[in-house]
């Protein structure tokens, strides 16, 4: 009898060892209770296994055709997954015309990239750096087979197996895993969070408190475009009807007196083909903003001080007179001390634990 039991046990063990070992452990978000959880697409639920696979892929240069770049080449953790250069360069030297955006709490974003009203999920957006030919970023197009063959390793086979119950890599799995990892990049542990949400009065300096009050004042109007949980959404204002489009013209250019931006990059209008979208770009999150220099879609502002000076002027150059700029860009006067207070406040949005969290770093 004991032998039968033993045989049965061995058989059961053998059977389970041969079954696909897709791991479905739901991902545990590291999000304080007072904050809402992000919405996740139904066809790509978050699991630990997908996040782990996505993390490996995110840092792996084998994802680029010539093995010279990974996602992390332009999205570096120490810079809140942005890049300290004006605009990025693709794996084959193509110039990318816009500044690399930080990847902070993008799981909450209603739209992605600097200027696109149609990309609503990371799964859609990630196709661009992978497959784009204009410009080439990772250069996957036409090189799918050789790239996939690089993931035919014991380590990756186990990671794919765990994530999808199939050890063979394909680009649908890759995109879903990368999306899961990028979605996991949440940051709610800044000094500001401790001050504002945890009630720690000593979490930020007196100067930063003054800067916070300036930031949320009607005098500076910052919070209208950089409001809400992630300092990024547009909102209702006494002088403006409800505006759910998070895209704004901030008066950087006005090449024709009618508000035009340079033909090389005109923002949302290129996608929507709607005249009202000339020079419209998405207001990015301000979380960890002190680490994501340079600023604006073209990386034209080197420091936070330069950004504040732009808004104080109500634009830059001819852009100040742009008929298309946001009505919130009225300009304002700041003393030098107030400017430093505002900068001090913006620094309180830095989340050091996010920038150094090993779970987000290279495996």
């Amino acid at each position: 009898m004991a032998l039968v039991r033993l045989t049965l046990l061995v058989c059961l063990f053998g059977l389970s060892a041969c079954q696909p070992v897709k791991q479905t452990t739901p991902y545990q978000w590291d999000i304080p209770e007072q904050f809402p959880k992000p919405i996740v697409p139904a066809d790509n639920p978050m699991t630990d296994a997908k996040v782990q696979l996505g993390r490996h892929l995110f840092y792996d240069v084998n994802l680029s055709a010539n093995q010279s770049q990974s996602c992390a080449s332009c999205h570096m953790q120490q810079f809140a997954f942005a890049e300290p250069r004006k605009t990025s360069v693709g794996s084959q030297g193509d110039v990318v015309r816009r500044n690399s955006l930080a990847l902070v709490n993008v799981a909450y974003n209603g739209s992605l990239t600097w200027a696109h009203s149609g990309l609503t999920t990371l799964e859609q957006q990630i196709l661009i750096p992978l497959f784009s030919e204009e410009p080439i970023e990772l250069g996957v197009t036409g090189n799918e087979d050789i790239i996939l063959s690089r993931f035919d390793t014991p380590q990756y086979k186990a990671l794919f197996e765990a994530a999808f119950g199939n050890s063979e890599a394909n680009f649908d799995y890759i995109v879903k895993a990368l999306s899961s990892f990028v979605r996991s990049l949440v940051s709610f542990n800044s000094a500001f969070d401790r001050y504002a949400y945890a009630g720690e009065d000593a979490a930020i300096s007196e100067s930063a408190v003054r800067g916070l009050n300036l930031f949320f004042s009607e005098r500076l109007e910052c919070q209208h475009c950089h409001g809400g949980l992630n300092f990024t959404q547009s909102s209702k204002h006494d002088f403006q009807q409800l505006d759910l489009r998070p895209f704004h013209n901030i008066g950087l250019f006005n090449t024709d007196g009618n508000g035009a931006y340079p033909k090389s990059d005109q923002g949302l209008i290129e996608v929507s083909k709607e005249a009202r979208d000339m020079g419209h770009f998405r207001a990015p999150t301000l979380r960890n903003i002190a680490r994501t220099a340079p600023y604006f879609h073209n990386g034209s502002a080197k420091t936070l001080e330069e950004v504040i000076e732009h808004y104080a002027r109500g634009g830059t150059g001819e852009g100040i007179e742009s008929p298309l700029k946001s009505p919130f860009l009225k300009g304002f006067a700041l003393t030098e001390e107030e400017k430093q207070d505002l900068v001090a406040f913006l620094h309180t949005l830095t989340d050091e634990s996010f920038l150094t969290n090993p779970a987000f770093g290279a495996p």
């Binding site: 696109h116 149609g118 990309l119 609503t120 196709l127 030919e133 204009e134 394909n170 033909k263 996608v271």
Partner: protein, 245 residues
């Protein structure tokens, strides 16, 4: 006289009847019995000269090579759901010199008109999960969450030029919705009705009319600095670039 007149009238009726029957027979032969095309030959021409696989084309004193030429054929959007398999891709690098197999819906629609393009209902789905030919990555147009309908990439020793066409203006009214309505500029190209011709000729010179072939005149992202886009699309719409023969 009366009889004779009556006989004459009777003969005319019989003659007219024969003509009508003969006419119906010819119409029947011409259309009704014309074999359904299951495939067509796609041939490339420049100024009347055929461009064969690997040929160089002399354009304005420079030798140009077709490095990539591909387009989708489909039936226009209908109330009937369409599948990826209903769409046909011609890819010069793969199909050059070979007949292009048509899908049954395209075969049935040849006489009423087909198009270069992908129906809207198929164009904006996840391309990584589509069946062939909508899973061909060189035709992904990710920035519009769609597909290129046509691409022509040319290179010479000194320069390169490219034309990528697909739907643009595809953003939704809401930032939290994928495109649900047809794009502002669908950019499909209707082909003329096919009268049983088995050859689809593509006349590059007709496409290039009004533009000089150089890198500055490329049209790939349809931005404000790509003024050649309107010229090229107008050329396509005139109906002389794609011709049945």
């Amino acid at each position: 006289m009366l009889n004779r007149t009556g006989n004459l009238a009777g003969k005319r009726v019989k003659l007219n009847l024969r003509i009508v029957i003969l006419g119906m027979f010819f119409v029947h032969v011409l259309y009704g019995c014309a074999p359904t095309l299951t495939d067509v030959s796609v041939r490339l021409f420049y100024q009347g000269e055929e461009v064969n696989c690997g040929d160089f084309v002399n354009i304005a004193g420079a030798r140009w090579e077709v490095s990539n030429f591909a387009f989708y054929l489909s039936t226009p959007e209908t109330s009937e759901p369409q599948r990826a398999e209903d769409v046909v891709l011609f890819d010069w690098s793969r199909d050059c010199g070979n007949p292009l197999a048509l899908s049954p819906p395209i075969q049935e629609s040849l006489a009423s008109g087909i198009q270069v393009g992908v129906p809207f209902s198929l164009n904006h789905l996840n391309p990584l999960l589509q069946s062939h030919p909508l899973n061909v990555s060189s035709m992904f147009w990710s920035w519009q969450s769609g597909h290129k309908f046509l691409r022509l990439d040319m290179k010479s020793e000194q320069s390169s030029w490219a034309y990528h066409l697909g739907s643009v203006g595809c953003s939704s009214a809401s930032a939290v919705r994928s495109p649900e309505n047809a794009c502002k500029y669908p950019n499909t190209v209707s082909l003329s009705e096919n009268q049983g011709q088995s050859e689809l000729q593509v006349h590059l010179d007709k496409l290039f009319e009004g533009i000089a072939l150089k890198a500055e005149n490329r049209c790939v992202m349809h931005g404000a600095n790509e003024t050649s886009c309107d010229v090229l699309y107008n050329n396509l719409q005139r109906g002389s670039v794609f011709q049945w023969h």
